[in-house]
Structure formats: structure tokens, C-alpha cells
Amino acid sequence: MNMRNILTIWKREFKAYFYTPLAWVFIGIFTLLMGLMFWSFLSTYMEYTMRSQFGMAPSVTIDRLAEAFYANMHVIFMFILPFFTMRLFTEESRQNTMALLMTSPVRMWELTIAKFKAAASILVLKLLVSLIFPIFLILYSAKGAGAGGPDMGIVGSTYLGLLFAGLTYIAFGMFWSSITESQLVAVVLSFATNFSFWLLGMWSQGASGWLQAVLKQLAINDQFQSFAKGTIELSSVVYFVSIIFFALFLTHRSLESRAWRS
């Protein structure tokens, strides 16, 4: 594997996100949505805290607030990330630049990894922007208004979970983008895949025995939830890493087969 090739393509792909307003718009919308949600959760939290002081409501910890908040962020990722992956290969087909890549001394693995890294960089950027919310909680509770800041360990493991889940959605989206030439089809199929992996958790409740165990293991939300509760389980890490590699492997196969299909 040639690292220089990966670096070259990664740099171009990352820049390409900002040639069009797409990245700006989606990072903007994402931050706005998260901000509104944060605000509404925080007011609910404050209301509960106030009422619980008079024994009128059960007390809610700030960690519970963070957990609900990040569960929602996970859902938003599921819907927003397909828009960041839809162009990865469909654009190369449309502009015929795939011909340039395929006649350059670049291996399809290098191309796959470079594109994945570019989309992952955008994800990391979004996660960094979202750090504003826990930072706010820390500052806010330092002023004495809250009952202690959020547990930094839980915040940390939640972010790791968000990163893994996000990378999984990116890997799925990239695969669909390598299959079809239509951005719309790529987005729809990515949604469908993300959502199916999400639903596995619900389906598992209807199943029994070994099937239930398998479905529950495969359910992306159940795996994410274990991170959100502050535990980093090896099985969850293995789950995400293997599912990401499997999607990348399929992408690579799809790219390799292009030459034979054309």
C-alpha cells in the first residue's frame, strides 16, 4: 500500500467537500439542530431539578441529560452522513474521473482507504464542533447552577461510540456510492441500510433463543448504547471494527469489478 497515494487522494477529497456548499450547509444544520435540542433538554433538566427540590419530581442527573442528548445525535448522524458519502464515487463516475484514477498507478485499496479517511475527517470535524455542548455543561456547572458537571469518562466513551457508529454509516454509504451512479439512489440505500441495522434491536425483542442473541449483537443502537452508558466493551469495539472492514472490503470488490463490468 502506497501511503503517498492515500495522502494525495485524501487531501483532494477532503478539500472537495468544501468546493460546494454541501459540507458547510450540513455542518451548519447539524450544529443548529443539536443546539436547539441541547437548549430544550437543558430547560427540561432545569425544570426537573427545580421541582425535585420540592419533592415534586424524581431528580435527574446531568449524565442522564447527556445520554439522551447523545442518543439523539446518533440518530441525526444516521440521517445526515449518507449525504456526505453519496458523492464519493458517483461523482467520479459522472465526471469520468474514474478513468483517471483507474489508469493511474493507484490501487483500489488505496482509493478506498483515502476516500474513507476523507469522509471520516468530516465526521471528526463535526464531533469536534459538538464538543461545545459538554464544554458548556462543564462551565455551567462550575458556576454552581448544576449538581456537578457531567462525568467526563462517560462523555469520553460516548464520543468513542459516536465515532464508531459514524464510521460505520460512512462505510455503508461509501459502499452504496460505489455501486450506483446516482447520488439519490446512494442516499436512499444508505438510509435503508443504516435503519435496518438500527431496527435489528427491535426485531430481536420479537425473536427468541439464539436468533435473539444474534440480532441483538448485530443491532447498531444496542452497541452504541453500551458506549453511552460509560462502558467500553471489547465485543462492541470488535463489532464496529469488523463491520467497518467488511463494508470497506465490499467497496473494494465493487471497485475492482468495475473494470470487468465496463
Partner: protein, 242 residues
């Protein structure tokens, strides 16, 4: 430099190329002629390792297309029918990217990019976004990307499409200037262009080589123009008795 033996390409049931053979010595410019659908683009795609052949022995720059495609890709510059351009990039930025992809040494990239921009008449549009350029200029960028890594073999699929008469002359001179150091295969429908730029012609029709000769030999003996010779050869099958 280029050796093709019994090249066959099938798209499913359809056979696009029926076992063609030809070779091009180093430094020569040849014109690949033939009617639409004759298999010109397919042959060029196979030579540039864009797609694999169904069967046949194909060697480019001393390497086999099956065994060492990576080595060939480093040494070949390829301009497809539709130039492979990132419309949202700037001309200079794009050429630099292609040079990096083709593994030009980092220290030489600047010089190579300047050189091709100069010779393809792109100096004044160096900072323009490719999507805003006219068709002729986009074509020039396409030619520039095929030459940026100073390849041993240059494969140009209809390089002068969309250019105005002045640009055509410039590009023709550019291609002529490649002779000697570079081996060039170009396809075109403009016959005078072949007369002016190429030393040899390989004419294919329905996936088979009809003529492989120098231009003077094809037309000279019969005192006809290349155009007349072309029409005679391409239509002969229908007229001549089997």
C-alpha cells in the same frame, strides 16, 4: 513500445474487437482510424489498462497488461473520449493532483505542471475553475493531464474534438513535437489530421485490422487521397464478392 497480438474484447455476447494485432515502435506516432463502433476506443482503453482484454497478448512499454499494470500506468498518459476532469477544481490545482497521482517526483511537479500548461496554452487560465472553461479549453486540460508526467506512451482518444481551427493547429503541433521521445497513438475522424501528424495508420473496422501501413503507401500507389482510400477500404466489404 506497444505490441498487440490477437487482442479480443467481448462485452457479454457482443464481440467488439476480433483479434487485432499491430505494433508501434518507440517514438512513432500512429493514427487509429475507423468508423464509429469499430473498436478504437475499446483498444485504447485496454492499452491504458483501463479495462482488461478478453484474450490476447498486449505489451506496453515493455510490460504485460496482465502482469504489471501498475508499471504501465506510470508510463502511459491517457486521454479518454470524455476528458476526466474535476469540474470544481482549478486548472493548476488539477494538473498538480494528476502529477501526484502519476507519482512524479515531488521536486519536479511544479516544473512539469508549468511545462504542460505552457505548451497546451493554459497559462492564462491557470487559476480558472475547470467547470467555467469552454469545451476547447477543457479538452486542452484533458491533453495536459495526459502529458503531465512525461509518459513514454501517450494514448489520445479524439484529442482535437471541440477545438477551434487555431487550437487544432496548436494541438497538432504539440502532438507532432512528441514524436521521437514519446510513442503516440491517437484516434480521430478528421483524416487530414492523420496526414499531418501521423507517420502510420492502423485502420480498423468491425473489430478487425483492415490496413496497417504508412500514409504514403496507402494512398500513394493509387494516386488517391487518404479520404478516398478510407472510403474504399471501409465500404469494400459490402461491394466485394465474398
Amino acid at each position: 513500445m506497444i505490441e498487440v497480438q490477437d487482442l479480443v474484447k467481448k462485452y457479454g455476447e457482443f464481440t467488439a474487437v476480433h483479434g487485432i494485432s499491430f505494433s508501434v515502435p518507440k517514438g512513432q506516432i500512429i493514427g487509429l482510424l475507423g468508423p464509429n463502433g469499430a473498436g478504437k476506443s475499446t483498444t485504447m482503453k485496454i492499452l491504458s489498462c483501463f479495462m482488461p482484454a478478453t484474450s490476447g497478448v498486449i505489451k506496453v512499454a515493455g510490460y504485460d497488461v496482465y502482469d504489471d499494470p501498475m508499471e504501465i500506468k506510470k508510463r502511459v498518459g491517457y486521454l479518454p473520449e470524455t476528458p476526466p476532469l474535476y469540474l470544481e477544481m482549478r486548472v493548476g490545482e488539477y494538473l498538480e493532483y494528476v502529477a501526484q497521482l502519476k507519482q512524479v517526483e515531488p521536486g519536479k511537479i511544479r516544473d512539469r505542471v508549468d511545462y504542460v500548461a505552457e505548451h497546451c496554452g493554459l497559462k492564462h487560465n491557470f487559476k480558472r475553475v475547470i467547470g467555467t472553461l469552454s469545451k476547447g479549453y477543457k479538452q486542452r486540460v484533458g491533453i495536459a493531464q495526459a502529458l503531465v508526467h512525461d509518459p513514454e506512451v501517450v494514448i489520445l482518444d479524439e484529442p482535437t474534438v471541440g477545438l477551434d481551427p487555431v487550437q487544432i493547429i496548436e494541438i497538432r503541433n504539440l502532438i507532432k513535437g512528441l514524436a521521437g521521445n514519446h510513442t503516440v497513438i491517437l484516434s480521430t475522424h478528421i483524416l487530414p489530421e492523420v496526414v499531418m501528424t501521423c507517420e502510420r495508420v492502423v485502420l480498423i473496422d468491425k473489430g478487425r485490422v483492415k490496413v496497417d501501413d504508412t500514409i504514403s503507401n496507402i494512398a500513394g500507389g493509387r494516386s488517391e487521397t487518404l479520404e478516398q482510400a478510407y472510403v474504399r477500404i471501409v465500404t469494400s466489404e459490402a461491394v466485394a464478392p465474398a
